[in-house]
Symmetry: C2
Subunit: 330 residues, 2 copies
């Protein structure tokens, strides 16, 4: 009975995972990443044991040193006796790609530490699918007892934000020269994060940049003050770091702790998590509907005919979409 | 018979639209933007008359001067006797917001010209929904006989690229200081466009930037040469402009024309359009499925119960999503 075997396998894997077994964790994340039913079964089984980890999301353009920063934070958290899980879904990250020599030395010291689990997930084309898998992987890290989870994503757009939106604290990492990101913040195209880090801060332009960001933040605060709720307001800190030399890391650890204390105290931690879980349920449902539709259509003769009509300008795209939806019983 | 009235109304609007009537065009785009059934009827009716316009997509971070550049291009194309349609879906664009005085002067000269139709579309939260409406609006401009269509989007991420992916030619606009975008190109996070413009090029760092981009492009070319098809290769030109003074615009017009001739000659124009139309049909179908699901769930007691179970860690998000999909007959 393969069914019984699988169930037994999942349960035993779940037990090992809940005990913090690293190999079980690695296997579990692979199951989720490969979209295997056992992976989803496993998440279902261990889900009651999640919700205890502190989840930090790091985003920012490539090249600003997010991985090095997470490496330095990992070291600091380990020194404080916390277990750490790192999940990188940045295709340009040294965690994901072959690291440069310097990075490799800094990062491998963690690979040998049992208290650190580092995992990168590849960008598999559809960002929806990846984000879905990444969030399940974060739940697995949480269930395995990782106390601090660092999620690394790339980007200055909105799509990538979807992934780290599920973090309790969102950290935007920039460096001197990140003019595009500052423009995006200024224009309201990018949302204001909880903490801003300027890495590689030993640069003559850093202080100009800090002033510019403070200007953006004070405008955003004004907006909030006029329409926002009467809560004690969180003032987004700007932390200057030189992650490669460990500078500014202690201050960053402190600010991250303050943010967590702030959202826990005023109840937004629960509120955020409730909203994020709602969005996650909807995102998973939507991604599955879309995937199912695409699979249905892959070799579908009627779809090919419809599409040919669209290409020949005899049928418009929206009508073709309606025809598809009607057929699949929508 | 309201049905007959609506049809008649649509037909008369369609007739005026096909004759190039600007008020009909404005009304038609509003119908599509508001997601009104008449809007979709109208697109269906005029769709056989589309596919003649040359569609150019402009993307890049806020503040690089995309609107000014499009203004200057519009002037040049009008001087060459072409009619122009501009569609801005950049929430930070002067087309969309109140423009600064200088911009307003430059842009209003076009507002008075009957051969130019400028329209901005607001970002309505869900980028999916907006992108869907924007593409329909582009079809309407095309049907109304606009010969050149310029679509403006913001972003250095992937989400925004989806919109301009439907353009025949994709132009990335940067300026000195666009370090994040160059890093994103370098890391392969952002796709290589067809044409790169460096605006505000009278800056001491412009030439360094051009060299950096050339480096990225030559690496991308190597990748392509090793695996790509044996087609005459398009060499992405880098055009330096000072759009506010009209400098570099003639060269840009020339490069845009060359790109169009290139894709027309080698057949990729038809191939691109076929692929883009396929993606559009799927995107519209997916967006509708998601919207339908969200509407169904807005006041749904069962969904609220499921969600509460997820929040209390008794039911995992993926199982909640499955329960929803099963219920809605998926």
């Amino acid at each position: 009975m393969p069914q019984a075997n699988t169930n037994e396998g999942t349960s035993s894997l779940a037990r090992r995972l809940l005990n913090g077994d690293r190999r079980a964790l690695a296997r579990a994340i692979s199951l989720v990443e490969d979209d295997r039913p056992e992976g989803w079964d496993l998440v279902r089984e261990v889900y009651p044991h999640t919700g205890r980890a502190a989840v930090f999301g790091f985003t920012g353009p490539p090249g600003v040193g997010k991985s090095t920063l997470i490496g330095a934070l990992t070291k600091a958290r380990r020194a404080a006796g916390r277990t750490v899980g790192v999940l990188s879904i940045d295709p340009s990250s040294p965690f994901t790609q072959g690291a440069l020599l310097g990075d490799r030395i800094r990062l491998t010291e963690h690979f040998l530490d049992q208290g650190v689990f580092i995992r990168s997930m590849a960008n598999r084309g559809a960002l929806g699918g990846l984000s879905e898998a990444a969030l399940q992987a974060a739940l697995l890290l949480d269930a395995a007892g990782r106390q601090d989870i660092f999620i690394e994503t790339v980007g200055v757009g909105q799509a990538e934000i979807d992934i780290i939106d599920h973090a309790d604290t969102i950290v935007l990492v920039l460096m001197p020269g990140s003019g595009d990101s500052i423009q995006a913040l200024k224009a309201g195209v990018m949302e204001i994060p909880d903490v801003i880090v300027i890495n590689k801060a030993q640069h003559p332009l850093t202080d100009t940049m800090v002033r510019e960001i403070r200007g953006v933040l004070s405008l955003a605060n004004l907006d909030e003050a006029s329409s926002g709720p009467a809560r004690p307001r969180w003032r987004v800190p700007i932390v200057k770091t030189e992650a490669a030399r460990g500078e500014g890391i202690d201050e960053l650890v402190e600010r991250l702790g303050e943010h967590r204390a702030h959202i826990a105290a005023e109840g937004t931690l629960q509120e955020r998590r409730g909203r994020n879980l709602r969005n996650e349920v909807l995102a998973i449902a939507s991604a599955r509907m879309r995937r199912r539709l695409e699979e249905e259509l892959r070799e579908d003769a009627q779809f090919k005919r419809l599409l040919q009509e669209v290409i020949e300008r005899r049928l418009d795209p929206a009508s073709a979409a309606s025809a598809l939806l009607e057929r699949s019983g929508g």
